[in-house]
Every structure is written in structure tokens, then in C-alpha cells.
């Protein structure tokens, strides 16, 4: 588990030191948190659009209809985005979370994140045609591979054992049904 911390003013000198040569790209990199503001306001606009295009006349009962709260939350998102942008431009930074296995001294490893996302999506697609035991084993093996484990003798074995034992425990002992797929049909 990790602890969130923020550190207003930590990046102060870089922001206002005045290095014109550093250019727009490094300014954007320094202020990438503004992207969060963009996403927050996009979410706010989405919510407001959805609420205001709602057809509420028939459904309305009482003074407050289904539209009020989305409008308030949507407006709140826009305000939050603006306040956050102001905070970022004044040098405030949300500090990335730390944790037992987190090393922030090196740049983010996007390849691993993309691989994991792909493996997860793949498993989600395969769970119905192949059944849970096989798809789960592929998910475990693929994720371990993406995270840097390269033991072709051990990894698939561990993945298969974890997945089949989980399937058996959930399906038989705990009474939580999971799809067995064609393999379980054969066994």
C-alpha cells in the first residue's frame, strides 16, 4: 500500500527561474499535471451535457429531480479543475505515491504498463471461449512475464497451479461459480 503526499512549492525554482531556452516542451513536462485539470473539466462537461439533455418532465417528482445532483457535481468538477490549475501554475505539485516496491528515481516504465494492460484485456476476451482456468493461467503468466520474470520452466507451471487451484477452491468449496470452459468439460 502507498501513502499519498503532496508537496506544494517543491518544484518552485524550475517554474519561475526563467530559462527561455528550455522551451515549451520542458514547460509542459514540468506542468503535466495540467492534463489532470483538462480531464477533470472534460468529465465535468460530459456530466453537465448528460444532465441538461435529460428529458425530465415526465419523471420529475418533488422539487429536486434527477438532474440537480449531476449539475452540482459537474459544476464542482469544473471548479476543481480551475482551482487545481491555479495551484499547479503557482508551483503546487501532487507528489507521486511512494511504497515498498516503488522506485521514483527512475522514469516511469510505460512498456510494462502497456504490456500489462494488453495481457489483462486479452484475458478478459479469452475468459468466455477458453474458460477461467486457462485464461487465468495466461493472465498470471503474461503479467509475470511483463513484470520481468523470465523462467520458461517455472512461470507457466506456477501460473497453471495458481489458476486451477483458485478455480477449484472458488467453484467447489466457496460456491462462487466461474466458467470452466472446454478444458473442464474434457476433464
Amino acid at each position: 500500500m502507498t501513502t499519498p503526499t503532496t508537496d506544494p512549492g517543491a518544484a518552485g525554482p524550475g517554474a519561475g527561474a526563467g530559462e527561455p531556452a528550455a522551451g515549451r516542451r520542458s514547460w509542459l513536462r514540468e506542468h503535466s499535471e495540467l492534463g489532470v485539470c483538462v480531464l477533470l473539466s472534460a468529465l465535468g462537461v460530459l456530466l453537465l451535457t448528460d444532465a441538461l439533455t435529460m428529458d425530465v418532465d415526465i419523471a420529475q417528482r418533488g422539487p429536486v429531480g434527477p438532474r440537480t445532483v449531476p449539475v452540482v457535481v459537474g459544476g464542482g468538477l469544473l471548479v476543481a479543475a480551475a482551482l487545481l490549475a491555479a495551484d499547479v501554475l503557482r508551483g503546487g505539485r501532487g507528489r507521486a505515491e511512494t511504497g515498498e516496491d516503488v522506485d521514483l528515481s527512475e522514469p516511469a516504465d510505460w512498456r510494462t504498463v502497456l504490456l500489462l494492460t494488453g495481457v489483462f484485456l486479452g484475458a478478459a476476451v479469452l475468459i468466455e471461449p477458453l474458460g477461467f482456468p486457462v485464461a487465468g493461467a495466461l493472465l498470471f503468466w503474461g503479467a509475470a512475464f511483463a513484470l520481468g520474470s523470465r523462467r520458461p520452466d517455472r512461470d507457466p507451471l506456477i501460473a497453471a497451479v495458481v489458476s486451477f487451484v483458485t478455480y477449484a477452491v472458488f467453484d467447489n468449496l466457496l460456491g462462487v461459480p466461474l466458467p470452466g470452459g472446454p478444458l473442464m468439460g474434457v476433464l
Partner: protein, 497 residues
């Protein structure tokens, strides 16, 4: 009322062989998963939710109680032996515990932590027994405006007291509220944010949000920054305490709960502040000032006891008012909702077997925790050596199991991944996760209470604050908004002593 009779009945429920088995299983699973680096109590409870899907509610919550305390103790073990405190309640444990472990007194540090958890949990649960029925009794008559006020209080508490940046906490809360809005409006059946999708019309299951934010978000975040060489845990033998240590620690164990419980019980709880306060208190009262920072055993005993008691305290507001203030309480509330049970003042009347069985099993779980974890500590320490690719692959795997088991739908896995990516972004930019989860869980209920209250008052906003109760709660909200001024003083005091 006859609280003691109810508690005895509760023990009758908790001590049946099957429920005892669930409690023991919960303690073992909770500790094992809590010890694993990178997994805190909230993620442990969220990942273990599907294990209880097939159980009836009483058994499930008895198991949860075990998981909760087990995971908290497991977290302290990790921070003492690795010195990389993960969850906030364990930060203080590492300050004295890790120096102790380094100087070869790891066994004593673990014992002080274990007994501290036991003492804090026992005293905290006794206070819970004494207090909860009274609070529930007082709260039975409160109406829609009062509930809405309480929920506003919870929102303000999690965004402005527990985090360190209010605007980021607020942004996180709003994200959660937005997710909570997806689906059919409960009062009119109007579709909101569903974009015509039938699956979205049912809303997004809270379990999927919790598992996505806590487990998937965390696993992806760690994957992006995985340490090349994980920290080496310090080997440790069987925990024990000598007579001299006992003489030093027993007062700290006894003091901790009285600092921890009140902070847990008010809806602005959390374990950060009480553990820190307990640390400062113990330091000031210690006869061995020179040892502080180098491994003073009181600095482990007091805060651990305070943390455990504050966990018991959070159950007061969770069970009697339905207000979660910590991540674990939020996930437990989600679990209650899975069973169609709404925690609140009526819970003690409607589900006495469940509530008192749960409370009794807190005592049972505490005894099991002490009995199982002292001998097993060397085994737990070995878990710290698990290869990280397997650990995080396992987290992704079990998160997928949990999300799929909710309804057996593939779309849930896709939603889980999307919410996990949101959680990843939140970790990158320092948005706390807890307010989002609280927003998803309490948002829909808060909207219903708000609309009910305004219906009663015929649209007049004054109807929201027309009872003494709601006025009091809004006064507390105002006080909380002024809290940062007080908070700014606290660390300074800690640094001076």
C-alpha cells in the same frame, strides 16, 4: 439495555465451530496478504471480498473481522522488517521498529506490535460495545436532513482532514461521485451517464470500483516504477519479550487505545493522527529518551495499540451511522451493501445476530491473532522474499477473479481495467484514492437523503438544517474546515520534543 446479554448471544454465534473456522481463516489470510509488500489492509479486504461471496452474511463478516485485524498486523510486520512503510497507520511503527530490528531486536519489536494490537483491539472493542448501542439508540430518530448532514461531514472529513492537499482530495471525491451517478436514478428511473448501454444502466458495482482503484491501480503504478532490487527484509526469530521490556511497554499498550479510539470513532477518523499523537506522548513520558530514534520499544507498543483501537473506533460510525471514514471501513460497507444490508441505527434492531456476532468475533479474532501470529512470525517474514513479478501478477489475477465473480460479465473486467487506469493516474498526480471510494459508496445514498429532505421541506433549502442534530453536524463541518490551522501546529510540536 441488555448489551451484555446481546454480547453473550453474539459469542454464541461467533464460537460455533464453523464461524470459529471462518475467523481463523480470516486472520491467517489477512495477515498473510497484509504482510506482502505493496498490499495494505484496504487492498487485502477488497481482494478477499470474492472469497466470502458464497457465505451467508454472518460468516462473511466474521471472516472480514479476522481479515481486517490480520491485515493491520501484517502491515506493521512489513514496516518493521523492511522500513518502507506502506499504509499510513504503519508509518510510525517503522520509526522505532525498524531501528530495533536492525540492532537485532526484531523479535521484541514484533512482539510489542502484536501485543499492542491485541491490547488496543481488546480495549477498543470493549469501548465499541459500550458506545455503539447508545449511539445507535440516539440515532434511530434522525431523519433525512440529518443523514444528509452526516454524509456531508464524511465527505469533508475524508477530503480535508485525511489528505494533505484539499483541492486534490476534492477532485478525487468528485470523480467518485461521478462514478456513483452512472446508472438509473433510484427515484425516477431516469438514465444517467449510461450512453444507452444496458450494462451501465445497473450502475458500476462498488466492488469493481474498490478493487480497480486499490488493487489494479496500485499494481500498475508499482509496475511502472518497480524497484530493480527489492529491499532485503531483516531475518527474525520467534517474537518474545523479556521482563525489562514488559515493564517498559505495558503502560504504552494501555495508553494507546485511549488516544486511538476517539479519533477512530468520530467520522473524521483515520489512524494517521492518533498513531502520531501516541508516538509523541510516549516519547515525552519515556524514561529512556536517549533511545528514541535508535529503537525505543515504547515507540512501537503505543502507536500500534492506538492504531488497533482506532480501527475498532471506525466501526462505531460505520455500524451505527453507516459512515465509513477509512478505506477498510469503506470496503466493508460495500460488502454490507452486497448482502443488501444497510448499516445504520436500525442495524442493531434488524440484524442483532449479525452485529453482535461480528462484535464478538472481533474479540475472538484478537485472541486468534495473538495465538497464531507470535509462533508464525518467522513464516510471515519469509513472505517478504516473494519474487515481485509473481506478487503483482497475483494481485492482477485475484483482482480479475473478484471482478468477474461479481456478476460473471466480461464488461466488468473492462470496467475494472479502466478504473484501474484512473487509479494509476491518481497515484501519479497525488490524488488520494479514499475520497473517490467514499464518493462512490455514499454518493447515491446522499443524493437520496437530500432529495427526500427537500421533498419534505417542499424545496426550501432551510429544510436541510432545521433539526438540532443537523445544525450540530454542520457546525462540526465548519470546525473541520478550520482544522488545517490546528494541524499545522502538530508536527511542529513533534519536532520540538
Amino acid at each position: 439495555m441488555n448489551t451484555l446479554t446481546s454480547l453473550m448471544d453474539g459469542f454464541g454465534t461467533a464460537l460455533t465451530p464453523l464461524n470459529l473456522l471462518w475467523a481463523a481463516l480470516g486472520v491467517l489470510l489477512g495477515t498473510a496478504i497484509g504482510v506482502l509488500p505493496g498490499i495494505g489492509p484496504a487492498m487485502a479486504v477488497a481482494l478477499l471480498l470474492p472469497v466470502t461471496y458464497g457465505l451467508e452474511p454472518t460468516g462473511a463478516f466474521i471472516m472480514f473481522a479476522g481479515i481486517y485485524y490480520g491485515a493491520m498486523f501484517g502491515g506493521s510486520t512489513t514496516s518493521i522488517l523492511l522500513n518502507t512503510p506502506g499504509e499510513s497507520a504503519a508509518v510510525v511503527a517503522a520509526m522505532e521498529g525498524n531501528p530495533m530490528a536492525k540492532s537485532g531486536r526484531g523479535a521484541q519489536a514484533l512482539a510489542a506490535a502484536a501485543v499492542g494490537h491485541f491490547a488496543g483491539g481488546m480495549i477498543g472493542t470493549m469501548l465499541l460495545v459500550a458506545l455503539a448501542p447508545t449511539v445507535a439508540g440516539l440515532a434511530v430518530d434522525i431523519g433525512a436532513p440529518d443523514y444528509f448532514a452526516l454524509m456531508v461531514l464524511a465527505f469533508i472529513a475524508v477530503t480535508s482532514v485525511l489528505g494533505s492537499s484539499r483541492i486534490r482530495g476534492m477532485a478525487s471525491l468528485l470523480i467518485g461521485l461521478t462514478i456513483g451517478l452512472v446508472g438509473l436514478d433510484r427515484m425516477t428511473g431516469q438514465q444517467r451517464l449510461t450512453f444507452g448501454s444496458l450494462q451501465l444502466a445497473d450502475g458500476i458495482d462498488v466492488v469493481i470500483v474498490a478493487v480497480g482503484l486499490f488493487a489494479i491501480g496500485e499494481a500498475l503504478w508499482v509496475a511502472a516504477h518497480l524497484r530493480r532490487r527489492p529491499p532485503d527484509p531483516i531475518p527474525v526469530g520467534r517474537p518474545w519479550l523479556g521482563r525489562a521490556d514488559l515493564r517498559r511497554t505495558w503502560k504504552s499498550w494501555a495508553r494507546g487505545p485511549f488516544i486511538g479510539f476517539p479519533f477512530g470513532a468520530v467520522p473524521a477518523g483515520g489512524a494517521e493522527i492518533p498513531t502520531f499523537l501516541s508516538y509523541v506522548t510516549e516519547k515525552r513520558l519515556s524514561k529512556h529518551r536517549d533511545e528514541w530514534g535508535k529503537g525505543a520499544i515504547e515507540g512501537v507498543a503505543g502507536p500500534e495499540s492506538a492504531a488497533s483501537a482506532s480501527a475498532a473506533g471506525t466501526l462505531v460510525s460505520m455500524l451505527t451511522l453507516g459512515l465509513p471514514t477509512t478505506a477498510v471501513a469503506a470496503v466493508m460497507l460495500a460488502a454490507f451493501q452486497q448482502y443488501g444490508i444497510q448499516p445504520g441505527p436500525l442495524l442493531f434492531e434488524r440484524e442483532p445476530d449479525l452485529v453482535w456476532g461480528l462484535i464478538a468475533s472481533l474479540f475472538v479474532g484478537m485472541v486468534l491473532l495473538l495465538a497464531l501470529n507470535l509462533p508464525l512470525a518467522p513464516v510471515w517474514a519469509k513472505l517478504l522474499r516473494i519474487p515481485r513479478p509473481y506478487l503483482y501478477a497475483g494481485i492482477l489475477f485475484f483482482a480479475a477473479v473478484g471482478a468477474y465473480a461479481v456478476g460473471g460479465e466480461v464488461i466488468d473486467l473492462v470496467l475494472l481495467l479502466i478504473i484501474g487506469l484512473v487509479g494509476f493516474g491518481m497515484r501519479r498526480y497525488g490524488l488520494p484514492v479514499l475520497p473517490a471510494v467514499i464518493g462512490v459508496i455514499l454518493g447515491p445514498a446522499a443524493e437520496q437523503q437530500l432529495r427526500r429532505a427537500l421533498q419534505i421541506s417542499d424545496g426550501s433549502v432551510a429544510g436541510l438544517a432545521d433539526t438540532p442534530f443537523s445544525v450540530t453536524v454542520y457546525a462540526v463541518v465548519v470546525l473541520l474546515l478550520g482544522w488545517p490551522l490546528v494541524r499545522r501546529v502538530l508536527p511542529r510540536r513533534g519536532a520540538r520534543t
